[in-house]
Amino acid sequence: MKSVLKIALGIIAALGGFLDIGDIVFTTQAGALYRYDLLWAVVLGTVGIAVYAEMCGRVAAVTGRPVFDVIRMRMGFGLGLVSLLASTFVNVLTVAAELGGLAIILQLLFDAEFSLFVVLAAIGLVVVVALLPFGGIERVFGCCGLMMLVFLATAIHQGPDWGEVAHGFVPSFSDSKLYLYFVVGVFAAALMPYEVHFYSSGAVEEGWDESNLRENRLNATVGYALGGILACTLIVVSGYLFHPIGVDPTDLGTAALPAQGAFGETGLLLALGGIMFCVGGAAIDSSFAASYNLAQFLGWEWGRYRGPRKAPRFTASWLLFLFLAMLIVLSGINPVEITEYSVVLAVVALPLTYFPILMIAGDRSFMGKHANGKISKALGWIYFAVIIILSITAIPLLLMTNGGGG
């Protein structure tokens, strides 16, 4: 019974923690622009993150090594350093985007100066991390993130043409650069590198071993699949409400409007609450990911479970990254713009993160009987090919579409 509960909590954490500001921004805009046409891109991204999260959870459970340990080991110091710099840059941008998103939601709920909420949000995150144990952080944000289920209820309440919705799951291509930009954005938002950095380091934090492999498989597949369903509902509700009247949801608060339309103030509050916990959780995950990477690369003591005294450099770097992110948001750049840049730039860094995982997870001399089977191997390589194509096209598309502005 206890293990069932543990698995259920893990799935809830993965589900609630799947969505972040990148998913919310890109799926809401994709729905408004292309109605249900980009649902297939969410499925593509969700299967991709499930495949790679399962691999790095497995590597962590079997070898006790998190992602950046593996990157350094497989790629050597030089390429590993490039990977560290690229992922740290993207991770800090991501923390800034999530922190800015959190401040926007707090402002929508309490109406005061934005900069005040940026500082309060950063302090709040430090307090939460100081007070809660690692598992507690994951579960609190994961469970409260379930308020996002209001979007599923909204989709059902709106009653769209489900045949048309189903048609959106069939991949379609267009020669429109903006459409391709959103394909890249929706896919990349699901595969942000910090998610696997955090997932594998989290597995080490929680002391996973081979007995946790089933839990890992369930968290990665069921948890992320349910998270993908939530991302799909964001496209559906946005496509249903915004597309016909031409709303361009460039503000994070607009994403909550469909829930308000369906369930009034209660719907609005649930939507804002859900977004707040999703972006708050992602702010912690991405800032931890940046510190995990640095500490693992430089061989420092790391881990929330060790505490600040036993892992002082890890703790200091975490605070530094959060502070840097706070400065970026306070500089006045719109958090939604930071989000778009962080997601698209992350695509460029994706191969550096996912290639070493694929190699190690498939290495029998290292993983023994737990090395990638035929299906994991095939899926891993197919996704790696997709990642390479997207990483080549991401920056040109960003420039040609003026950052998605058309």
Partner: protein, 143 residues
């Protein structure tokens, strides 16, 4: 050295002035489309106020943000030098943007007033209609 300096001056002058050309039909159309999108969003927010189905802080902050965007669009359009064939549409677009900014300001002032909400919702719909008519006249296509 002189050649390099001259080249730098020409490059700088080109870069500095290249953004200051006439406002083209396409650019104006994009501006008006964004006004239409803002009006549509304003209509949904005002609908929440009219139905007493929202939170005043949400309405106030959203109205302030979107009103700021409408004002910015109005300034951008008013500052641009339109090409002669779209001068009339440019002027109409500036007026639409101004009306939109006023309506958002109304929402910001009365975020919990259902009567005001209903009025603003109606006017937002009208302003959206004006913006869509402008898009139609600029593109020859139904908005």
């Amino acid at each position: 050295m002189r050649k390099i300096a001259a080249l730098a001056v020409v490059t700088f002058a080109f870069a500095f002035t290249s953004g200051c050309g006439d406002l083209s039909r396409d650019e104006l159309n994009r501006g008006v489309e964004s006004l239409s999108a803002l009006a549509a969003q304003g209509e949904l927010i005002a609908n929440g106020v009219a139905r007493d189905a929202t939170k005043s802080t949400y309405t106030r902050v959203m109205a302030k943000t979107l009103g700021g965007e409408a004002e910015h669009e109005a300034e951008k359009l008013a500052d641009a030098e339109p090409s002669p064939e779209v001068r009339r549409e440019r002027n109409a677009a500036v007026q639409v943007a101004g009306e939109l900014a006023d309506l958002f300001s109304e929402l910001q002032t009365f975020p919990g007033d259902e009567h005001h909400g209903a009025l603003v919702e109606k006017h937002m719909g009208e302003v959206k209609g004006q913006a869509d008519a402008l898009v139609e006249s600029l593109t020859g296509e139904e908005a």
